[in-house]
């Protein structure tokens, strides 16, 4: 059932609008809901024709407003074109028909309720469902006002309606655009065709010094002449010309640091826009720098006392201060081993912080990946002997040249090999393979150990997540190795992962993108991609 409310016309009428007309005092269209104020017969009677003429004039005020007029018998005497378009009826099908036909059987009660109120001179306002010619029911937001003849007698009513679905969509759009405008992040929308600004929100206008809001004549070129936005332009071209969906870039403008997301937004066939969302990360960057500096300082400060501790123990163990009793030597070896471990942890923390803060520089130099693998295997021989395992290589017989950072790649390889050694069974075999799959270089390190329990798989690349603390102490790990590997590989544009089966073993792998890689046989020295076969 439709709901609504009544108000007497006199109480609603603003004084300034009293003289607008003899029947209708005023019509105020709020932008969403038409609110009609009706004044009863203030200046004497007027003809019914003039009432209809007035209704038609109001109909023109807002073309999406649906209007119908009924007589004292509640039969429709006028409907506007919007009403016909909305319901699907022709004018002939409606004129002369009781208005309740539009309400359908379920709306009869509503129609009667409205009618009773109107007879008492009250306005009704509320939602009414209208039954369309195809049987569908569409809800309208409706205001119904009584009409009176020259003698002050009730002569019918006029209903003004709005499509509720459209209103809600409009309202929702308005809320969205208001929210967008008030957002703390800066927003630009640039027209792909003209490269002129289509929109800037308040935050963007403020920091760009365009408080007056005059951005519509500005283009990206205009901005470029005033400030260095080259990373933004590169991202813009990547999205516009290369079809990239969403490109991120960092930018420093007017002393502020922004992380910018650049995205294509096709509003409709005519409106193809590039959306720029600027997130001010100045505070975040400053805090991260402070944190990185703190971690760095603390770590370095720890190194000086550690130098003395480790150095003293080293000298004692080498009998620099004389022969040690066997028990004292055993205890000193434990202390020395743990001091070594502390140094490794500090180094790993520093490495990780540096990578995360973007402070680690990565080289891109032509490097033989096969050679790097063989070097990493050689430098892992101490570990392989300690844990009594053998390491085999596959696919490293020929040079495979790749543009990468050799030191960092070795760091990843030795980390993965160190893990494989620690988690292999005695007499176990580790296989390091180099292949090319789907145009990517893939290096895998396979062990035949216990495998990773299913419950731990999701956190394997998290810090200190690879094993319990007691495991770490006994095996000599820091708990940061895999996090560092992940950070390094991702910084080199690659990805890292693993496959593991409990009781069977684990294979860790990393892939390097071929965009960064040129692989060739050195025999003919001709650049060209090689498939794994």
């Amino acid at each position: 059932m439709a709901t609504g409310w009544y108000a007497t016309a006199d109480t609603l009428l603003p004084p300034s609008l009293l003289d607008i007309g003899p029947i209708m005092g005023a019509i105020a269209i709020s932008g969403l809901v038409p609110v009609l104020f009706v004044k009863k017969n203030l200046n004497g009677g007027k003809s019914r024709t003039s009432e209809i003429a007035m209704a038609e004039r109001f109909a023109n005020l807002k073309s999406s407003t649906l209007i119908n007029v009924v007589d004292a018998e509640n039969r429709m005497t006028e409907v506007n074109d919007e009403m016909l378009a909305f319901t699907g009826y022709t004018r002939d099908q409606l004129i002369g028909q009781p208005v309740r036909m539009l309400y359908g059987p379920t709306g009869y009660q509503t129609a009667d309720t409205i009618r009773r109120g109107l007879a008492e001179g009250k306005i009704w306002q509320g939602d009414t469902p209208l039954v369309c010619s195809d049987g569908s029911v569409r809800v309208t937001q409706t205001t119904v006002m009584p009409l009176f003849d020259g003698e002050g007698n009730w002569s019918g009513s006029i209903s003004v309606r709005n499509d509720l679905a459209k209103n809600e969509a409009f309202l929702s759009g308005k809320i969205n655009s208001t929210a967008l405008h008030e957002l703390r992040d800066s927003i630009w929308m640039v027209d792909v065709q003209t490269e002129h600004f289509h929109y800037m929100n308040r935050a963007a206008l403020d920091w760009m010094g365009l408080g007056g809001g005059s951005y519509d004549r500005l283009s990206l070129d205009d901005i470029q002449t005033k400030m260095d936005i080259s990373p933004l332009i590169s991202a813009y071209h990547a999205v516009r010309d290369k079809g990239r969906e969403d490109v991120q870039c960092n930018l420093v403008l007017k002393g502020m640091q922004f992380e910018v997301s650049v995205k294509r937004v096709a509003i409709d066939d005519q409106n193809d826009q590039i959306l720029f969302v600027f997130q001010d990360i100045s505070n975040r960057v400053e805090k991260e720098q402070m944190k990185a500096e703190f971690v760095s300082t603390v770590s370095h400060e720890l190194r000086s006392p550690l130098t003395s501790i480790k150095g003293s123990m080293g000298l004692l163990l080498s009998n620099a201060a004389g022969e040690l009793p066997e028990k004292a030597r055993g205890l000193l070896e434990i202390a020395h081993r743990n001091a070594e471990r502390l140094v490794l942890i500090i180094n790993d923390i520093l490495d990780l912080e540096k990578i995360v803060a973007g402070g680690m520089e990565f080289e891109r130099v032509p490097t033989d990946l096969s050679d790097l693998i063989n070097e990493a295997v050689l430098s892992s021989s101490i570990n392989s002997q300690r844990f009594d395992v053998t390491i085999e290589t596959v696919g490293t017989e020929e040079p495979v040249e790749v543009h990468t950072d050799p030191n960092r790649t070795i760091q990843v390889l030795t980390n993965l090999l160190s893990n494989a050694c620690k988690f292999s069974r005695p007499n176990g075999k580790i296989i390091v393979s180099l292949t090319q799959q789907q145009g990517r270089l893939r290096v895998s390190v396979k062990d035949h150990g216990q495998g990773i329990p299913a419950r731990d798989k999701h956190k394997i690349f998290e810090r200190f997540a690879d094993m319990t603390n007691s495991d770490r102490a006994s095996k000599g790990g820091t708990g940061l190795g895999l996090s560092i590997c992940k950070a390094i590989v991702e910084n080199m544009g690659g990805d890292i992962g693993f496959e593991s089966q409990e009781g069977v073993g684990t294979t860790f792998y990393f892939c390097l993108p071929t965009e960064e890689a040129v692989v060739y046989h050195t025999e003919n020295a001709q650049p060209g991609l090689r498939d794994a076969g």
């Binding site: 760095s296 370095h300 400060e301 190194r303 000086s304 006392p305 550690l306 130098t307 003395s308 501790i309 480790k310 150095g311 003293s312 080293g314 000298l315 080498s318 620099a320 001091a339 140094v343 540096k354 520089e361 030191n407």
Partner: protein, 122 residues
């Protein structure tokens, strides 16, 4: 006997370095706790190699070396930096100011002498 000038503000580290170098019997070690003390010492002691801590209060290792290089007898003397901050970029910077080697802290006292000899001959 290799005459070595060691400049380091941490007394414990000085002690460990002196003990580890003198154990070999190949080094005559003179130690200073600051860059200024090193500048005061060199007129009476001309080293074959200079071992410098990088981070010291007052004059840093780098600044100390710059001052030492102004003395004719020390213009070509091999200099080795010791530092707890040894990232790749730092190492490049140290080498650019005349370091022949950069030794990271914590160092291994048992191989320190060998590291220094290798750097001197490089």
């Amino acid at each position: 006997m290799i005459k070595l000038l060691h400049v380091e503000d941490d007394a414990d580290i000085r002690e460990i370095a002196k003990m580890s170098l003198e154990l070999t019997g190949d080094f005559e070690v003179v130690q200073c706790n600051s860059g200024q003390e090193a500048l005061d010492t060199v007129p009476s002691f001309t080293p074959d190699v200079i071992l410098l801590d990088m981070m010291m209060p007052g004059m840093t290792g780098k600044e100390t070396l710059e001052h030492l290089r102004k003395i004719d007898a020390l213009k070509e003397t091999p200099a080795i930096f010791m530092t707890a901050r040894a990232q790749n970029a730092d190492v490049e910077e140290f080498r650019a100011v005349g370091a022949v080697e950069v030794i990271c802290k914590p160092f291994d006292p048992m191989s320190l002498a060998e590291q220094i000899k290798t750097a001197m001959n490089a």
